[in-house]
């Protein structure tokens, strides 16, 4: 491997940084035409109801109302809002509008008016008669409940995913490796534990927005804050019943996604209005609507049974998961799969592994894709369990992990068996510095297995806890990305990609990769992304795919471009291509003779070379034959106030192996940002529903996300490896940062107070209750005994 890079592995500023910082109009709602109709949605006030009648007459009589559409006015085509490959692993269980509403906030009618006030007035005048139905709100009671969330007959899956809507099951799955029962009975120690993770809201700062218009050809043009323009185009065409060729989706800058914009939420509504009125139509959700009517993380109950020997050998784990997908099944199966497929391979020496369960419907708002995508839920359960076993066999939690964890050159049977929606792919891990991550992390935090908690003052206890994690790099043999390079007059390149920069800086790192491969400066690569009419295909930004999948596509394209350039020069000078050298500026012939330079070549091929004139371009695509996981070790130092139960995060150390960091600063921010979302989920972020299914946490004053005062020091380092299959050795880094905080903080709390918290978040009242109920007396089960005496 050649590590003398000139453009990659450097912390260049994002190419769009200064424009964004100065607030230049760049996001969807900034760009919407001023004369566009304003679209607002009438939403269901009931968790489950059948619409008996809708009277729009009074609303339509309001001056300035352009159109009102209800379920009878829109195509009745089952589809899924999940932005995923084709055929989608999510059930087609949704209509743009239906005569059933399945959660409070579900769409009932689309109103378009000249301005917002008029649209709102019209909404207030629509009279809907509902037949209120008993809602299903407890996901643990969903299976075979008398309430059936989806009684309609037209809905279906695209291939077998265990879809049984009559039983409220959106998807189910089961797999076994080895003889689980035998290994459990042969283990010295067997533990059974149940863990719960709460739903979490994405809270991307830019609320979902889109606008639509018909172009001069009558094609529908949608500008949308989406993570996946091509999936959006396909899903939208299907849901509207129009050919894909009649749609164009444009993505401007996006104000954060985190999976929350990996679905179509608002696009069908503006599309229908534009088609109905032949006018531009815009929509921007309010924060309340984003909370109440977009998606959350899947809440899960995870039961684990594990067997180990007293010498520290982990023999077996049997994992059962129940996941709540809410009213619709977007990402139901795949998130559920990732809870196992991107956690269990961490401990690849187990003799037997079981994984199975179901994803169920309830009358809550839908769950969907969210950074971590099941891995954070699974990691919380798995890494809490690892500490539980370590305590049970009196072994340092780090030592126990080190004895059982995956290492470079090894594989896991899970890779082959579990994919996302179908089988996985076999994969030998060619880059894994997990051992370095742990060693460096324990050094930075000051881990001392004899002193994992200590009292700093009466009633104030500090403690350490840790967890390790893995993620993936795209979905192997499913995700595909492409890039096109084209030489422009003046000697610079257009780089067109379908990859979708959500603010992560992916446009910048893709330009870095292209510049490195071409040997030119980054200023000579101008990135255009993403527009389905102008960008080559890419599945979009999700599943930690952009650096690895789109990055590899760009690398292939740039290497092909070099070849194209050299061949053009060879042709011009009647040389064999192998006799021409290119150093990024100049072209040399035999014996180093200077032939021409890139600038001259660019003018010559476009203007001067008469019969030889042509556009010099290259296009290449990449799909991963595997998805090399990034790895990390996370260490928390917390302080527990025993009087109030308040847990403060004093320090968090994260050491990450994501291969080569293409842009170390941007990689670091990815980890820091991911950590904070994981910390929020661990400490206080909580989606709360009322008795009748009403979302109580529907504003930022009721759903707090971490501020800059909520964490102490965050230390991020990279244990760099070189992934042979990645662009310049890179793996992904988008999601890995979010995974460890719930388990690492739970493990630290256990070390502080001697109680295992099986459910996130660890709010002060929860911790206080645990302290109160903790009885350190002789009857306490061994595995609940703290390593150090509970400070008083």
């Amino acid at each position: 491997m050649d590590k003398s890079y000139s453009v990659v592995h450097r912390s260049l500023a994002k190419i769009d940084a200064l424009g964004l910082i100065q607030g230049k109009p760049a996001y969807t709602d900034d760009l919407a035409p001023g004369d566009a109709l304003v679209v607002k949605l009438l939403r269901s006030p009931y968790a489950f109801a059948k619409i008996k009648s809708i009277d729009k007459s009074q609303a339509l009589a309001v001056g300035g109302v352009a159109c009102i559409l209800d379920w009878k006015d829109v195509p009745r085509i089952p589809y899924t809002r999940a932005g995923q490959g084709h055929p989608e692993p999510s059930p087609h269980d949704r209509f743009i509008l239906d005569n059933y509403v399945r959660y409070i906030g579900d769409e009932v009618a689309i109103v378009a008016a000249e301005d917002e006030a008029t649209a709102e007035k019209a909404i207030s005048l629509i009279k809907v008669e509902y037949e209120i139905l008993e809602p299903l709100l407890d996901f643990e009671k969903a299976i075979d409940n008398t309430v059936v969330v989806h009684p309609e007959s037209e809905i279906h899956d695209m291939f077998p995913i265990g879809f049984e809507p009559g039983r409220n099951i959106a998807a189910s799955y089961k797999m076994r490796i080895g003889d689980v029962e035998k290994e459990l009975s042969a283990s010295d120690v067997v533990l059974r534990r149940s863990f719960f993770t709460q739903a979490q809201a994405h809270v991307a700062m830019e609320p979902h927005a889109a606008f639509a218009s018909l172009d001069i050809h009558g094609r529908l043009v949608i500008v949308s804050s989406t993570q996946n323009p091509f999936h959006t185009r396909r899903l939208l065409a299907q849901s509207l019943g129009i050919p894909i060729r009649d749609l164009r989706v444009v993505k401007p800058r996006i104000g954060g996604g985190f999976g929350g914009k990996q679905h179509i939420h608002v696009e069908p509504f503006v599309a229908l209005v534009a088609l109905a009125t032949k006018r531009s139509a815009r929509i921007a959700l309010t924060r309340k609507e984003v909370f109440e009517s977009t998606f959350t993380r899947h809440r899960m109950r995870i039961d684990i049974e594990a067997g180990a020997n007293r010498n520290g050998v982990l023999n077996v784990m049997d994992v059962r998961v129940l996941s709540d997908t809410g009213a619709y099944g977007e990402h139901a199966l795949t998130v559920f799969m990732v809870a196992g497929s991107k956690t269990l391979p961490l401990y690849n020496k187990m003799k037997a592994v079981g994984y199975g369960g179901a994803v169920v419907y309830t009358n809550h708002l839908s769950a969907g894709a969210f950074r971590g995508y099941g891995a954070i839920q699974g990691n919380f359960a798995l890494e809490s369990m690892m500490d539980e076993i370590a305590h049970e066999i009196h072994m340092d939690p780090i030592e126990f992990r080190e004895r059982n964890m995956i290492r470079e050159g090894q594989t896991s049977e899970v890779f082959k068996i579990m994919g996302e929606g179908s089988e996985g792919v076999e994969m030998v891990i060619e880059s894994c510095k997990l051992d370095r991550c742990i060693a460096r992390g324990r050094e930075l935090i000051g881990w001392d297995s004899k002193r994992l908690s200590w009292e700093v003052s009466p009633g104030i206890v500090r403690a350490h806890g840790m967890a390790i994690a893995m993620q993936g790099s795209g979905i192997p043999l499913v995700d595909m990305g492409s890039a096109t390079l084209e030489l422009q007059d003046g000697g610079w390149f257009k780089l067109r990609v379908g990859a979708t920069d959500l603010g992560t800086g992916s446009d910048t790192i893709l330009a870095q990769i292209a510049a490195e491969a071409l040997g030119v400066g980054p200023e000579d690569i101008k990135v255009y992304a993403s527009d389905t009419d102008h960008s080559p295909f890419d599945v979009g930004a999700y599943a930690s795919s952009t650096t690895y999948v789109s990055g590899n596509a760009v690398l292939k394209t740039a290497l092909a471009m070099r070849k194209v350039l050299v061949e053009a020069v060879a042709e011009k000078y009647a040389l064999k291509p192998e006799c021409v050298e290119f150093d990024g500026k100049n072209f040399f012939g035999p014996e180093g003779a200077m032939l021409t330079n890139l600038v001259d070549l660019s003018f010559d091929t476009l203007y001067h070379d008469r019969a030889l004139m042509k556009t010099l371009s290259s296009t290449a695509s990449f799909t991963g034959g595997k998805a090399p996981p990034p790895y990390m070790a996370g260490f928390a130092e917390i302080e527990v106030d025993l009087g109030t139960g308040k847990v403060k995060l004093l320090r968090y150390v994260a050491v990450v192996d994501c291969g080569t960091t293409i842009n170390p600063n941007l990689a670091r921010i990815q980890v820091e940002g991911g950590l904070l979302q994981g910390i929020g989920m661990a400490l206080f972020e909580r989606v709360v529903f009322g008795d009748r299914g009403k979302l109580m946490t529907n504003s930022l004053s009721r759903y707090a996300i971490p501020s800059r005062e909520d964490v102490g020091e965050i230390i991020v380092e990279f244990a760099e490896s070189y992934e042979p299959s990645g662009p310049y050795g890179a793996k992904s880094v988008g999601e890995i940062g979010i995974d460890t905080p719930p388990a690492a903080i739970a493990n630290a709390i256990y070390n502080a107070i001697g109680v295992r918290l099986p459910q996130t978040p660890f709010t002060p009242d929860v911790v206080w209750k645990a302290i109160l109920e903790h009885d350190p007396g002789p009857t306490t089960p061994k595995n609940l005994r703290p390593q150090t005496q509970l400070p008083r």
Binding site: K646, F684, A704, P764
Partner: protein, 264 residues
């Protein structure tokens, strides 16, 4: 927020006429009204009445009704008298950009359960000066049912007291789970607790248990905390349950008392 009629009087008499006689809705900072979004038929903006001040008036500090939370937080006059009390109590309210909007008068008139300011003012035994309608202790005002139009002009704080604030939040910029202020004066102690989640209330028993001692010891502080927790009612909301609030009340009351003892 939908305001049908908006008026901005330039003197107190005019404002009094609109608010008290005609029943118009007085706007303090307006931030809470904005976020609640209820329509207002007739609104009176109090921003041109010269009520944004913090100054010494005789034996009191007078806080104009339109002084912002940030004014209170940054006031050197308040800092000289009360030390870090106001920045500690008010510094957790959302961000500076909201503390620059919300007003002392708005917090009093709104009687918000989450209000840190009310806890502090109640502990300090502040009085409210109503334009044309006399002066009443804040405790009396909070004890009486809502109703009756009034024009709050200023809040009077005593100069001879020490107080300390203790609060607990899930996230730093979130509303408090519980707010406590302990105040020591020559006559004795006053302990106030807010975000129960109900509006701030005085704990008479806890205050009395400390007698007139200047620095109560650890045991007395803990006992006062226990009494406070026992004599108030607590409820449940999104952030915590009643049982937890009661428990934390005793801890925070003891800490607030201890803090004053140490500081003196």
């Amino acid at each position: 927020m939908n305001i049908a009629t908006y008026r901005r009087p330039s003197n107190l008499d005019e404002a009094y006429d609109l608010v008290v006689k005609q029943g118009a809705y007085p706007l303090g900072g307006g931030a809470w009204s904005m976020s609640v979004g209820r329509p207002i038929a007739s609104a009176v903006d109090l921003c041109d009445l010269g009520l944004r001040y913090i100054r010494v008036e005789g034996k009191n500090i007078a806080v104009g009704a339109m002084a912002t939370a940030r004014d209170l937080e940054r006031s050197s006059l308040l800092a000289d008298v009360f030390g870090p009390l106001f920045p500690e109590a008010l510094g957790g309210i959302a961000g500076v950009q909201v503390r620059n909007i919300v007003t002392a008068g708005g917090s009093v008139a709104g009687r918000y359960g989450f209000s840190e300011l009310l806890v502090v003012l109640l502990a300090l035994d502040a009085s409210l000066v109503f334009y044309n309608d006399g002066t009443r202790p804040l405790s009396e005002y909070l004890g009486a049912p809502r109703g009756g139009a009034f024009l709050l002009e200023k809040i009077l704080l005593p100069l001879d007291k020490k107080a300390s604030y203790q609060g607990l939040r899930h996230a730093a910029t979130d509303f408090p789970v519980l707010s406590v202020c302990a105040c020591r004066a020559r006559a004795g102690w006053r302990i106030a607790v807010g975000a129960r989640p109900g509006v701030a209330a005085i704990c008479p028993g806890a205050g009395a248990s400390l007698g007139s001692t200047g620095s109560p010891g650890e045991q007395m502080a803990l006992e006062a905390g226990r009494i406070a927790a026992g004599e108030l009612s607590f409820g449940e909301d999104l952030r915590a349950g009643a049982e937890y609030r009661r428990s934390v009340c005793s801890v925070l009351v003891a800490r607030a008392i201890r803090r004053i003892s140490y500081d003196s």
